[in-house]
Protein backbone atom coordinates (compact mmCIF):
# COMPACT_ATOMS: atom_id res chain seq x y z
CA UNK A 1 0.00 0.00 0.00
CA UNK A 2 1.64 3.24 -1.14
CA UNK A 3 2.35 6.20 1.03
CA UNK A 4 2.70 9.65 -0.40
CA UNK A 5 3.74 13.19 0.42
CA UNK A 6 0.18 14.52 0.27
CA UNK A 7 -1.21 12.32 3.04
CA UNK A 8 -0.61 14.87 5.85
CA UNK A 9 -2.24 17.68 3.85
CA UNK A 10 -5.23 15.49 3.05
CA UNK A 11 -5.58 14.42 6.69
CA UNK A 12 -5.42 18.06 7.80
CA UNK A 13 -8.11 19.00 5.26
CA UNK A 14 -10.38 16.23 6.50
CA UNK A 15 -9.80 17.11 10.16
CA UNK A 16 -10.60 20.78 9.56
CA UNK A 17 -13.57 20.26 7.26
CA UNK A 18 -15.23 17.69 9.51
CA UNK A 19 -14.24 19.29 12.82
CA UNK A 20 -12.62 16.10 14.05
CA UNK A 21 -9.62 15.40 16.25
CA UNK A 22 -6.41 14.58 14.40
CA UNK A 23 -6.23 11.09 15.84
CA UNK A 24 -9.71 10.31 14.57
CA UNK A 25 -8.61 10.63 10.96
CA UNK A 26 -6.31 7.78 10.00
CA UNK A 27 -5.09 6.99 6.48
CA UNK A 28 -7.43 4.01 6.43
CA UNK A 29 -10.55 5.86 7.61
CA UNK A 30 -13.27 5.81 4.98
CA UNK A 31 -14.53 9.31 4.28
CA UNK A 32 -18.27 8.80 4.04
CA UNK A 33 -18.37 5.57 6.06
CA UNK A 34 -16.12 5.90 9.11
CA UNK A 35 -16.01 9.70 9.17
CA UNK A 36 -19.55 10.43 8.03
CA UNK A 37 -18.64 12.97 5.37
CA UNK A 38 -21.58 14.33 3.36
CA UNK A 39 -21.43 15.84 -0.12
CA UNK A 40 -20.87 19.37 1.19
CA UNK A 41 -18.10 18.07 3.45
CA UNK A 42 -16.38 16.53 0.43
CA UNK A 43 -16.61 19.88 -1.36
CA UNK A 44 -15.02 21.58 1.64
CA UNK A 45 -12.30 18.92 1.82
CA UNK A 46 -11.50 19.31 -1.89
CA UNK A 47 -11.25 23.12 -1.63
CA UNK A 48 -8.96 22.81 1.39
CA UNK A 49 -6.76 20.32 -0.46
CA UNK A 50 -6.65 22.67 -3.45
CA UNK A 51 -5.53 25.53 -1.25
CA UNK A 52 -2.86 23.44 0.49
CA UNK A 53 -1.47 21.53 -2.49
CA UNK A 54 -2.62 23.24 -5.68
CA UNK A 55 -4.42 20.06 -6.75
CA UNK A 56 -7.69 21.21 -8.28
CA UNK A 57 -10.10 18.30 -7.93
CA UNK A 58 -13.80 18.69 -8.76
CA UNK A 59 -16.42 16.53 -7.06
CA UNK A 60 -17.12 15.04 -10.48
CA UNK A 61 -13.42 14.09 -10.78
CA UNK A 62 -13.84 12.03 -7.64
CA UNK A 63 -16.67 10.02 -9.19
CA UNK A 64 -14.78 9.67 -12.48
CA UNK A 65 -11.66 8.52 -10.65
CA UNK A 66 -13.55 5.88 -8.74
CA UNK A 67 -15.48 4.61 -11.76
CA UNK A 68 -12.49 4.96 -14.08
CA UNK A 69 -14.50 6.09 -17.09
CA UNK A 70 -16.32 2.76 -17.26
CA UNK A 71 -19.87 3.37 -18.56
CA UNK A 72 -22.62 2.92 -15.95
CA UNK A 73 -24.05 -0.04 -17.87
CA UNK A 74 -20.72 -1.88 -17.66
CA UNK A 75 -19.74 -0.74 -14.16
CA UNK A 76 -22.96 -2.05 -12.64
CA UNK A 77 -24.93 -5.22 -13.21
CA UNK A 78 -28.65 -5.36 -13.95
CA UNK A 79 -29.34 -5.57 -10.21
CA UNK A 80 -27.19 -2.45 -9.56
CA UNK A 81 -24.23 -4.31 -8.05
CA UNK A 82 -20.69 -3.50 -9.16
CA UNK A 83 -19.69 -5.80 -12.03
CA UNK A 84 -16.52 -7.86 -12.18
CA UNK A 85 -15.08 -5.26 -14.55
CA UNK A 86 -15.98 -2.52 -12.06
CA UNK A 87 -14.45 -4.43 -9.15
CA UNK A 88 -11.21 -4.95 -11.09
CA UNK A 89 -10.95 -1.20 -11.54
CA UNK A 90 -11.83 -0.50 -7.90
CA UNK A 91 -8.96 -2.73 -6.85
CA UNK A 92 -6.62 -0.37 -8.67
CA UNK A 93 -7.90 2.84 -7.07
CA UNK A 94 -8.70 1.30 -3.67
CA UNK A 95 -5.97 -1.33 -3.16
CA UNK A 96 -7.17 -2.11 0.37
CA UNK A 97 -10.42 -3.77 -0.74
CA UNK A 98 -10.72 -7.52 -1.16
CA UNK A 99 -12.72 -7.96 -4.31
CA UNK A 100 -13.26 -11.67 -3.77
CA UNK A 101 -15.46 -10.75 -0.80
CA UNK A 102 -17.40 -8.20 -2.83
CA UNK A 103 -18.37 -10.08 -5.98
CA UNK A 104 -22.07 -9.55 -6.51
CA UNK A 105 -22.43 -7.86 -3.11
CA UNK A 106 -21.35 -4.24 -3.58
CA UNK A 107 -24.15 -1.86 -4.58
CA UNK A 108 -22.86 0.54 -7.23
CA UNK A 109 -24.13 3.57 -5.33
CA UNK A 110 -22.21 2.57 -2.18
CA UNK A 111 -18.76 2.41 -3.73
CA UNK A 112 -17.83 5.80 -2.32
CA UNK A 113 -18.27 4.40 1.19
CA UNK A 114 -15.05 2.37 0.69
CA UNK A 115 -12.94 5.39 -0.32
CA UNK A 116 -10.33 6.19 2.30
CA UNK A 117 -8.23 9.17 3.28
CA UNK A 118 -5.22 7.41 1.76
CA UNK A 119 -7.12 6.76 -1.49
CA UNK A 120 -7.83 10.48 -1.69
CA UNK A 121 -4.17 11.29 -1.07
CA UNK A 122 -3.23 8.92 -3.88
CA UNK A 123 -5.69 10.75 -6.12
CA UNK A 124 -4.12 14.08 -5.20
CA UNK A 125 -0.80 12.93 -6.63
CA UNK A 126 -2.49 12.68 -10.02
CA UNK A 127 -3.96 16.17 -9.85
CA UNK A 128 -1.17 18.08 -8.10
CA UNK A 129 0.86 20.55 -10.15
CA UNK A 130 4.18 19.15 -11.34
CA UNK A 131 7.00 19.75 -8.89
CA UNK A 132 4.76 20.17 -5.85
CA UNK A 133 4.42 17.76 -2.96
Amino acid sequence: MSDNNYLPAVQDAVVEALGLETEEVTPDSTLTGDLGAESIDLLDILFRIERATGAKIQASDLADHIQGGIPDAEFGTDDDMVSDLGLAHLQAVMPQIHIADLVGKLPADEVISLFTVRNLADMVTRFAPLGSG
Binding site: I40, L43, D44, F47, E50, R51
Partner: protein, 270 residues
Protein backbone atom coordinates in the same frame (compact mmCIF):
# COMPACT_ATOMS: atom_id res chain seq x y z
CA UNK B 1 -11.97 44.06 24.30
CA UNK B 2 -10.62 47.40 23.09
CA UNK B 3 -12.81 50.44 23.50
CA UNK B 4 -13.98 51.61 20.11
CA UNK B 5 -15.27 54.92 18.94
CA UNK B 6 -19.00 55.39 18.92
CA UNK B 7 -21.14 54.77 15.88
CA UNK B 8 -20.27 56.81 12.85
CA UNK B 9 -22.03 57.37 9.57
CA UNK B 10 -21.38 54.46 7.22
CA UNK B 11 -20.22 56.83 4.51
CA UNK B 12 -17.44 58.09 6.81
CA UNK B 13 -15.85 54.66 6.90
CA UNK B 14 -14.26 53.07 3.87
CA UNK B 15 -15.69 49.76 5.11
CA UNK B 16 -15.27 48.15 1.70
CA UNK B 17 -11.80 49.48 0.87
CA UNK B 18 -9.87 46.96 -1.17
CA UNK B 19 -12.98 44.92 -1.95
CA UNK B 20 -14.38 44.22 -5.38
CA UNK B 21 -18.15 44.25 -5.92
CA UNK B 22 -20.30 43.19 -8.84
CA UNK B 23 -23.77 44.73 -9.07
CA UNK B 24 -26.15 43.36 -11.68
CA UNK B 25 -28.63 45.67 -13.36
CA UNK B 26 -26.65 48.67 -12.17
CA UNK B 27 -27.16 51.10 -15.02
CA UNK B 28 -30.09 52.81 -13.34
CA UNK B 29 -32.51 52.93 -10.44
CA UNK B 30 -31.74 50.93 -7.38
CA UNK B 31 -28.78 49.14 -8.98
CA UNK B 32 -27.06 52.41 -9.82
CA UNK B 33 -27.61 53.69 -6.28
CA UNK B 34 -26.18 50.45 -4.88
CA UNK B 35 -23.12 50.67 -7.15
CA UNK B 36 -22.52 54.26 -6.08
CA UNK B 37 -23.05 53.39 -2.42
CA UNK B 38 -20.55 50.54 -2.51
CA UNK B 39 -18.02 52.70 -4.36
CA UNK B 40 -18.46 55.46 -1.77
CA UNK B 41 -17.38 52.94 0.85
CA UNK B 42 -14.22 52.08 -1.04
CA UNK B 43 -15.19 49.13 -3.22
CA UNK B 44 -14.15 48.81 -6.85
CA UNK B 45 -17.39 48.12 -8.69
CA UNK B 46 -18.35 46.18 -11.80
CA UNK B 47 -21.46 47.91 -13.14
CA UNK B 48 -23.44 45.31 -15.03
CA UNK B 49 -25.95 46.30 -17.68
CA UNK B 50 -28.01 44.46 -20.25
CA UNK B 51 -29.04 47.05 -22.83
CA UNK B 52 -28.29 50.46 -21.30
CA UNK B 53 -24.58 50.78 -21.99
CA UNK B 54 -24.55 54.57 -22.01
CA UNK B 55 -26.25 54.78 -18.62
CA UNK B 56 -23.91 52.18 -17.15
CA UNK B 57 -20.96 54.22 -18.37
CA UNK B 58 -22.47 57.27 -16.67
CA UNK B 59 -22.49 55.35 -13.39
CA UNK B 60 -18.85 54.36 -13.97
CA UNK B 61 -17.92 57.99 -14.65
CA UNK B 62 -19.75 59.12 -11.52
CA UNK B 63 -17.72 56.65 -9.47
CA UNK B 64 -14.46 57.64 -11.14
CA UNK B 65 -15.22 61.34 -10.62
CA UNK B 66 -15.26 60.62 -6.89
CA UNK B 67 -11.89 58.89 -7.10
CA UNK B 68 -13.27 55.37 -7.25
CA UNK B 69 -12.68 52.48 -9.60
CA UNK B 70 -15.36 50.92 -11.76
CA UNK B 71 -15.99 49.14 -15.02
CA UNK B 72 -19.16 48.64 -17.07
CA UNK B 73 -19.75 45.03 -18.11
CA UNK B 74 -22.61 43.73 -20.28
CA UNK B 75 -24.52 40.53 -19.57
CA UNK B 76 -28.04 39.18 -19.75
CA UNK B 77 -28.34 37.58 -16.32
CA UNK B 78 -30.93 35.13 -17.65
CA UNK B 79 -28.08 33.48 -19.57
CA UNK B 80 -25.85 31.23 -17.41
CA UNK B 81 -22.89 31.47 -19.79
CA UNK B 82 -23.15 35.26 -19.86
CA UNK B 83 -23.07 35.29 -16.05
CA UNK B 84 -19.94 33.14 -16.02
CA UNK B 85 -18.33 35.63 -18.41
CA UNK B 86 -19.54 38.52 -16.26
CA UNK B 87 -17.88 37.11 -13.15
CA UNK B 88 -14.71 36.30 -15.10
CA UNK B 89 -14.73 39.83 -16.54
CA UNK B 90 -15.09 41.34 -13.08
CA UNK B 91 -12.12 39.39 -11.79
CA UNK B 92 -10.04 40.16 -14.89
CA UNK B 93 -10.77 43.90 -14.73
CA UNK B 94 -10.83 44.52 -10.99
CA UNK B 95 -8.65 41.75 -9.58
CA UNK B 96 -11.13 39.67 -7.59
CA UNK B 97 -14.69 39.30 -6.36
CA UNK B 98 -15.74 39.90 -2.76
CA UNK B 99 -19.30 41.18 -3.03
CA UNK B 100 -22.07 40.12 -5.40
CA UNK B 101 -25.28 42.13 -5.46
CA UNK B 102 -27.96 40.37 -7.48
CA UNK B 103 -30.17 43.31 -8.33
CA UNK B 104 -31.25 42.92 -11.97
CA UNK B 105 -34.98 42.59 -12.24
CA UNK B 106 -37.97 43.15 -14.46
CA UNK B 107 -41.71 43.10 -13.95
CA UNK B 108 -44.63 42.19 -16.19
CA UNK B 109 -47.72 42.98 -14.19
CA UNK B 110 -50.94 41.25 -15.14
CA UNK B 111 -53.93 39.58 -13.55
CA UNK B 112 -53.42 35.85 -13.19
CA UNK B 113 -56.54 35.08 -15.20
CA UNK B 114 -55.31 37.15 -18.11
CA UNK B 115 -51.65 36.22 -17.92
CA UNK B 116 -49.62 34.83 -20.81
CA UNK B 117 -47.27 31.98 -19.85
CA UNK B 118 -44.42 33.87 -21.51
CA UNK B 119 -44.88 36.73 -19.05
CA UNK B 120 -44.24 34.89 -15.81
CA UNK B 121 -41.52 32.84 -17.46
CA UNK B 122 -39.67 35.97 -18.61
CA UNK B 123 -39.87 37.47 -15.11
CA UNK B 124 -38.71 34.24 -13.52
CA UNK B 125 -35.79 33.86 -15.94
CA UNK B 126 -34.41 37.32 -15.21
CA UNK B 127 -35.32 37.83 -11.55
CA UNK B 128 -34.80 34.38 -10.12
CA UNK B 129 -32.67 32.90 -12.91
CA UNK B 130 -30.34 35.87 -12.70
CA UNK B 131 -29.77 35.29 -8.99
CA UNK B 132 -29.14 31.59 -9.53
CA UNK B 133 -26.86 32.10 -12.53
CA UNK B 134 -24.71 34.80 -10.97
CA UNK B 135 -24.52 33.08 -7.61
CA UNK B 136 -23.37 29.85 -9.24
CA UNK B 137 -20.85 31.76 -11.32
CA UNK B 138 -19.44 33.57 -8.27
CA UNK B 139 -19.51 30.69 -5.83
CA UNK B 140 -16.38 28.90 -7.03
CA UNK B 141 -14.30 32.01 -6.41
CA UNK B 142 -15.91 32.84 -3.08
CA UNK B 143 -15.84 29.32 -1.67
CA UNK B 144 -12.20 28.86 -2.68
CA UNK B 145 -11.12 32.15 -1.09
CA UNK B 146 -13.35 31.34 1.89
CA UNK B 147 -14.87 34.79 2.02
CA UNK B 148 -17.52 36.76 0.23
CA UNK B 149 -20.89 38.41 0.64
CA UNK B 150 -23.89 37.93 -1.61
CA UNK B 151 -26.78 40.36 -1.31
CA UNK B 152 -29.92 39.51 -3.24
CA UNK B 153 -32.41 42.25 -3.97
CA UNK B 154 -35.78 40.75 -3.24
CA UNK B 155 -38.97 42.63 -2.38
CA UNK B 156 -41.70 42.78 0.22
CA UNK B 157 -43.81 41.40 -2.65
CA UNK B 158 -42.03 38.12 -1.93
CA UNK B 159 -43.70 37.91 1.48
CA UNK B 160 -47.01 39.67 0.76
CA UNK B 161 -49.54 39.72 -2.06
CA UNK B 162 -50.57 42.48 -4.47
CA UNK B 163 -53.05 42.48 -7.32
CA UNK B 164 -51.31 41.93 -10.65
CA UNK B 165 -47.89 41.22 -9.14
CA UNK B 166 -47.94 37.42 -9.15
CA UNK B 167 -44.98 36.87 -11.54
CA UNK B 168 -42.82 39.42 -9.75
CA UNK B 169 -43.90 38.34 -6.27
CA UNK B 170 -43.32 34.67 -7.02
CA UNK B 171 -39.87 35.41 -8.43
CA UNK B 172 -38.97 37.32 -5.27
CA UNK B 173 -40.31 34.56 -3.00
CA UNK B 174 -38.07 32.16 -4.93
CA UNK B 175 -35.15 34.51 -4.29
CA UNK B 176 -35.93 34.47 -0.58
CA UNK B 177 -35.85 30.67 -0.46
CA UNK B 178 -32.71 30.55 -2.58
CA UNK B 179 -31.03 33.08 -0.30
CA UNK B 180 -31.64 30.92 2.75
CA UNK B 181 -30.29 27.81 1.03
CA UNK B 182 -27.26 29.70 -0.30
CA UNK B 183 -26.55 30.93 3.21
CA UNK B 184 -26.79 27.44 4.67
CA UNK B 185 -24.52 25.88 2.05
CA UNK B 186 -21.94 28.68 2.01
CA UNK B 187 -21.66 29.56 5.71
CA UNK B 188 -18.97 27.00 6.53
CA UNK B 189 -16.85 28.52 3.77
CA UNK B 190 -17.04 32.02 5.27
CA UNK B 191 -19.39 33.20 2.55
CA UNK B 192 -22.58 35.04 3.55
CA UNK B 193 -25.86 35.46 1.69
CA UNK B 194 -28.64 37.82 2.67
CA UNK B 195 -31.59 39.44 0.95
CA UNK B 196 -32.91 42.97 1.08
CA UNK B 197 -36.64 43.35 0.68
CA UNK B 198 -37.45 46.90 -0.38
CA UNK B 199 -40.98 48.18 -0.15
CA UNK B 200 -41.99 50.89 -2.53
CA UNK B 201 -38.97 52.80 -3.77
CA UNK B 202 -39.17 55.65 -6.20
CA UNK B 203 -37.62 53.90 -9.20
CA UNK B 204 -38.63 53.34 -12.83
CA UNK B 205 -39.59 49.74 -12.08
CA UNK B 206 -42.63 50.65 -10.01
CA UNK B 207 -43.27 54.15 -11.33
CA UNK B 208 -46.72 53.08 -12.49
CA UNK B 209 -47.68 52.31 -8.90
CA UNK B 210 -45.90 55.07 -7.04
CA UNK B 211 -46.99 57.91 -9.34
CA UNK B 212 -50.63 56.93 -9.82
CA UNK B 213 -52.74 59.60 -8.12
CA UNK B 214 -49.52 61.03 -6.78
CA UNK B 215 -48.85 57.72 -5.04
CA UNK B 216 -51.39 58.64 -2.36
CA UNK B 217 -53.14 55.27 -2.44
CA UNK B 218 -49.97 53.46 -1.55
CA UNK B 219 -48.65 56.09 0.83
CA UNK B 220 -51.73 55.64 3.01
CA UNK B 221 -50.63 52.04 3.59
CA UNK B 222 -47.02 52.84 4.53
CA UNK B 223 -46.56 53.78 8.20
CA UNK B 224 -43.55 55.95 7.33
CA UNK B 225 -45.77 57.92 4.89
CA UNK B 226 -43.01 58.14 2.31
CA UNK B 227 -41.45 56.08 -0.41
CA UNK B 228 -37.93 54.79 0.00
CA UNK B 229 -35.21 56.64 -1.80
CA UNK B 230 -32.82 54.35 -3.69
CA UNK B 231 -30.08 55.35 -1.23
CA UNK B 232 -32.21 54.06 1.70
CA UNK B 233 -31.99 50.60 0.18
CA UNK B 234 -28.38 51.06 -0.97
CA UNK B 235 -27.28 51.85 2.60
CA UNK B 236 -28.64 48.54 3.86
CA UNK B 237 -27.05 46.66 0.97
CA UNK B 238 -23.69 48.26 1.76
CA UNK B 239 -24.04 47.28 5.41
CA UNK B 240 -24.83 43.66 4.53
CA UNK B 241 -21.92 43.59 2.08
CA UNK B 242 -19.44 44.81 4.65
CA UNK B 243 -17.70 43.63 7.81
CA UNK B 244 -20.35 45.12 10.10
CA UNK B 245 -22.66 42.29 9.06
CA UNK B 246 -20.05 39.56 9.54
CA UNK B 247 -22.41 37.33 11.54
CA UNK B 248 -25.48 37.93 9.37
CA UNK B 249 -26.33 35.26 6.85
CA UNK B 250 -29.63 33.89 5.65
CA UNK B 251 -31.39 37.07 6.75
CA UNK B 252 -34.24 38.66 4.83
CA UNK B 253 -34.16 42.35 5.70
CA UNK B 254 -37.17 44.51 4.92
CA UNK B 255 -36.56 48.16 4.01
CA UNK B 256 -40.11 49.30 3.58
CA UNK B 257 -41.03 52.07 5.99
CA UNK B 258 -42.99 49.54 8.03
CA UNK B 259 -45.26 48.48 5.16
CA UNK B 260 -44.91 44.75 5.75
CA UNK B 261 -45.25 45.13 9.53
CA UNK B 262 -48.61 46.82 9.46
CA UNK B 263 -52.03 45.23 9.76
CA UNK B 264 -53.69 48.59 9.31
CA UNK B 265 -52.98 52.23 10.09
CA UNK B 266 -55.64 53.49 12.49
CA UNK B 267 -56.52 54.90 15.90
CA UNK B 268 -56.07 53.16 19.29
CA UNK B 269 -58.68 50.40 19.59
CA UNK B 270 -59.43 51.11 23.26
Amino acid sequence: MPVSAGPRGAADQPSLAGRVALVTGASRGLGAAIALGLAARGAAVAVNYHASRARAEEVVRAIEDEGGKAVALPADVADPDACAELVAGTIANLGGLDVLVNNAGITKDSLIYQQEPADWLAVMRVNFGGVVNCTRAAMGTMLRQRSGSIVNISSVMGIRGWVGESPYAASKAAINAFTRCTAVEAARFGVRANAVLPGFAATDLVAGLTTKNGGRGILRQIPAKSFAGPEDVANVVAFLAGPGAAYMTGSLVTVDGGASAVLGVGAPLG
